[in-house]
Symmetry: C2
């Protein structure tokens, strides 16, 4: 398969193959993305996050379907960082083998952590870029949990949709989740459930207190399962997009995302370089043994290895 | 205050001050931990994790109270990685200013992310070590969410207690959470709620499928609020401890934790060194601008900076 030609000519298999290559750390994948990097930046990137059980997959699917009705091409990347050991995303893929996946204007991909430290965030970045080159109008990045790595992943989005749900345990527990600060749009899903109004009110109160942005996120009550108010949610996403177009908001956001990515790439290079160098691997193993045996403390051990880093960078 | 003397003589303020210093990246803190590193390894480290709303704080508090009745000294570190922007842990502290915090045999500390990349995991590691030196018999590390960073944090525990709760959205959603693979003990909290048996059964089924360990985790139904079955939960934790004492299980686990820590310390050193060097900071900012302007792709930008890394390591 000619991946380059396929990618530019809308061949789903080419995009899928390239994402797999990127996930596996294949250098050819990075080479191809670099070649077509100038074609990126046309897609709108939407992060979908929120607590487990909020119905994020359903929300994403309905957003995608409604955007398809508007003639937009949609990519979906479902990221599951909660599965560090197995590819926990497999089940997710199977469950979502629905009408969406047969639509040629929709590209769906699940991703789980596959060992590499910081690797999932990089793989997600790569996949977004590949789907951007591939010509998607909207790219959704959906995460499973709520945690730091999810924050890192959704930070690359232009707009972050925080999906909430009524009755998420204690009120404090919900408000405590400071992760809500990254939401640009709030969707209260399953809003036919008891407590939906209370949840929406709590979000509004939380937003009253958040002075870190001059943008006031919209709060939209939806029932994704019944496709209720999904168009309103799209309108709220569009409203945030219009805000980004003003002043330097968009540039600032993109630059923050680029900075985060560059720093995590540097970390990735350091670790990969160590892993590829057998003398470094055995140095680490020696140090692990020494720390375990209390012959050295972990800080000193890390400094010893870090001091060797100048020998590493020739291998990049 | 003489922190060293205080730390060794059971002065809570000394331990608290030292943890704050470690959180702030104060080098004196690392120096003190290094000095007393040989005193570590006596405490049993218990990770408490699980989805939001499962009642992890209550479970931790009740475990602590029951262990206090056995005459054990208990440290609690509540980690909230979901708050990357503000110190989201403040509220948690206030809520938990209960009878536990006035007990001289209990040390409670909340921690939120405070900016530094990978910093929270390091701060949590440091705090555990400080409380170990300080002489706690049990140290609980409790996380707020479920995500990769929580996984990294609880990985340093000897035993990970996964707190579940009935009715967590779709069954698939719960099972999909591959994070469950890190649980050594499962507590189904709020087990008087509808669906508790179903949840316990689902966990057992999931454990049937998990072949990655030769240890079969216990599943314990509890009602933490009413202190029901908390002693059974402690017995399940002890059972896992006994397993660790056999063969090389303990050594292997500790070494994995040390390896993870060393690698994240190396990453930390790389980033800190870059941040301290103004020429590196401006190189990054130039690269961010160039990537934004599509003059260079982020991979090449990161390599450019990484190639400079040999100049960095003299500053450690």
């Amino acid at each position: 398969m000619d991946i380059r030609a396929g990618l530019l000519n809308g061949d789903k298999r080419a995009a899928a193959r390239l994402i797999t290559m990127a996930e596996n750390g294949d250098e050819e994948a990075v080479k191809i993305i670099r070649e077509y990097y100038h074609l990126t930046g046309k897609a709108r990137i939407i992060g979908i996050t929120g607590p487990p059980g909020a119905g994020k997959s359903t929300v994403t699917d309905k957003l995608a379907k409604n955007l398809r009705l508007q003639g937009k091409k949609v990519g979906i990347i479902a990221v599951d960082p909660t599965s560090p050991f197995t590819g926990g995303a497999i089940l997710g893929d199977r469950v979502r083998m629905t009408d969406l996946s047969t639509d040629p204007g929709v590209f769906i991909r699940s991703m789980g952590t596959r060992g590499a430290l910081g690797g999932l965030s990089k793989a997600a970045h790569d996949a977004v870029r590949i789907l951007d080159i591939y010509g998607m109008d909207y790219i959704f990045i959906e995460t499973v949990g709520v945690g730091q790595s999810e924050v890192d992943i959704v930070k690359l989005a232009d707009t972050v949709v925080m999906v909430m749900v009524p009755g998420l345990g204690d009120d404090i527990q919900a408000i405590k989740a400071g992760i809500m600060e990254i939401g640009d749009v709030f969707a209260v899903n399953k809003s036919d459930r008891e407590g939906a109004e209370k949840t929406a009110t709590e979000i509004e109160i939380m937003l009253d207190f958040n002075k870190s942005s001059d943008y006031r996120p919209s709060v939209v009550n939806i029932i994704a399962r019944d496709n209720k108010n999904v168009d309103e949610l799209i309108a709220a996403i569009d409203k945030h997009w219009e805000y980004l177009q003003k002043n330097n908001n968009f540039e600032e956001r993109k630059k923050n995302s680029i900075r985060t990515e560059i720093i995590s790439l540097i970390n990735q290079y350091v670790i990969t370089s160590i892993q590829r160098d057998s003398s470094k691997v055995s140095l680490i193993e020696d140090m692990v043994g020494n720390v375990y045996g209390k012959k050295i403390d972990p800080y000193s051990a890390a400094v010893e290895i870090f001091k060797d880093v100048s020998k590493i960078n020739r291998n990049v």
